[in-house]
């Protein structure tokens, strides 16, 4: 190992979608956890090949929607039947049909806001930048290559075996990924 840099992982580069999907399935089958795929465009079937779990966003969206509907109902009941009761058109103070449009709107508003916030959190947007973005690997991926990156943080990680796994499962080129000690950038 050269001076001033540490091994950060192993990168496998593929030329086409089929070999990427093969490599991703093999890595998932081997039990790796700290790894990811990088592609120039969204690839159909990659979620399944990587074994990604279903997103929790739909459930959160629904729950937030119901919360919004509940808030809307309570708010309107409190405003028009408790805090400032005005009888309109001889109707009861608590007239649910009149509240339905607001219940619907807040259902939509709450679920939309919750969805956006969850997407930001689940994308780990708190981290503004990944050093991988400046590496040569990304330069290839943003043009015409597909990359599988195995990180050394994974408990299964061993350089030789990881490289062999990638080479065996369809990657045309396998190269090590280093982290420079002075600024933490990946090369």
């Amino acid at each position: 190992m050269a001076e001033g840099r540490n091994l950060a992982g192993v990168v496998g580069l593929c030329d086409d979608v089929e070999s990427l999907l093969r490599a991703a399935s093999a890595v998932r089958a081997a039990g790796y956890r700290e790894w990811d795929c990088h592609t120039p465009y969204p690839v159909h079937g990659l979620d399944r090949a990587m074994g990604l779990k279903a997103s929790p966003i739909p459930a959160i969206c629904l729950a937030a929607g119901f919360a919004g509907a509940g808030v809307a109902l309570l708010m309107q009941w409190w405003m028009s039947a408790v805090d400032y009761p005005v009888r309109i058109g001889g109707k009861p103070l608590y007239s649910w049909p009149a509240f339905v449009p607001i219940v619907f709107e807040l259902f939509v508003l709450f679920s939309a806001l919750a969805t956006v916030c969850c997407v930001l959190v689940l994308c780990r947007l708190g981290r503004w930048h990944s050093p991988l973005h400046d590496s040569d690997v990304m330069r290839l991926v943003t043009s015409d290559r597909f990359a599988v990156v195995l990180r050394q943080e994974d408990r299964l990680f061993a350089e030789q075996e990881a490289a062999a796994l990638l080479a065996r499962s369809g990657c045309r080129e396998v190269r090590p990924l280093y982290e420079r000690e002075e600024d933490g950038s990946l090369i």
Partner: protein, 406 residues
Amino acid sequence: MSGGGDGGAELLALAPLRSAGLARASLALILCGAVLCATTLLSEGGLERFSFAYLWGFSFAWAIVLGSLFFVALQHVTRAVWSVVIRRVAEALAAPAGLLGVLFAPVLLLLLFTDHCAPFPWSNADLVRDDHVLQGKAPYLNVPFFVVRALFFFACWGGFAAFFVRQSLKQDAGGGAARTARMRRVAAPFLILFALTVTFASFDWLMSQDPHWYSTMYGVYVFAGMALAALAAITLAVLWLRARGLLGQGIVSDDHLYSLGGLLFAFTCFWAYIAFSQFMLVWYGNLPEETVYFARRGGAWLAVALLLVALRFALPFFLLLSRDAKRSPRRLVVTALIVLAGELLDLYWLIMPQLHEDGPRLGWQELGPPLFLAGALLLHVARFLGKHRPMAVGDPFLSKSCAFHL
């Protein structure tokens, strides 16, 4: 992934339906219905009950056929590619549009050759004589003009349905691109005509049963139910044909089912939106001449109204909410059956309170016409599918449609 990769050979090998069972079942329905209709007509006060039940059954058949015609035209006007693999099934359901005109004959005959047709109070000269409102509406609500309008509607729907179905069938033999271009050109003006004719037909055949009452949203309410019923029928037919292997192996994919399920879900929300909007405006305005309509359909009919909310909105909404549900054939079948039951109940709730003000009644007198009309519709569809390929194999976008991915 897609079956389209195997090329046109598999698609061209798709054969028409060979099922004597379906034809036999529909003949049995027709026979049952006809016997029940005849017994009803011979019984005391039977003509009145028959005429209401006939309108009920007819509106149901009308909703499925016209909704399917709308679906076909919608695919052309939006230049949809995903739906090409299932469009022939919708065409099979839209093809009986001409038959609808024949099936409407009993209503027209009752209007023309008896002193009045029970569901339409404005056709009763004795009632009109003492009724200012009906006299004011007489220039529109009179028998000759009603008959002329009905004939125009059926000529229009029958003509356009024949055009779309025939062009698509001729395409099977060749001349794909030119015919597709022609259908796309015709679809846009047809949809405008469709909106107007369906609106006025719903005013004529359903809303005018309570001739004092009116709602400008009535047409779109009936249309929302119609679109739902047709989507449910198309989904059921697609799944049934697919399960029998008539639509090829893996050609109609999860993504196609998802699109059908998505439309079913969207129109469920659309119906709820329209139905509630109509109700809320009447409730808010609180004018006696408007609220009488919902007052009659609440009260003794409240249970039906609540069941309608469940069948039309709550159940389909939650059954189809998740992504996986829209791809699951079993879930789609269950939901489509619920939606069809909802359409039957909706039309029952629109029509029958005029006859039974004191609460819902469903005897064998009510069942004859729906069974007869459903049988007639099913027989026509079975014969269509028995004669023609179940997929539009000549459509230039078929292979793209096979490879459709969301």
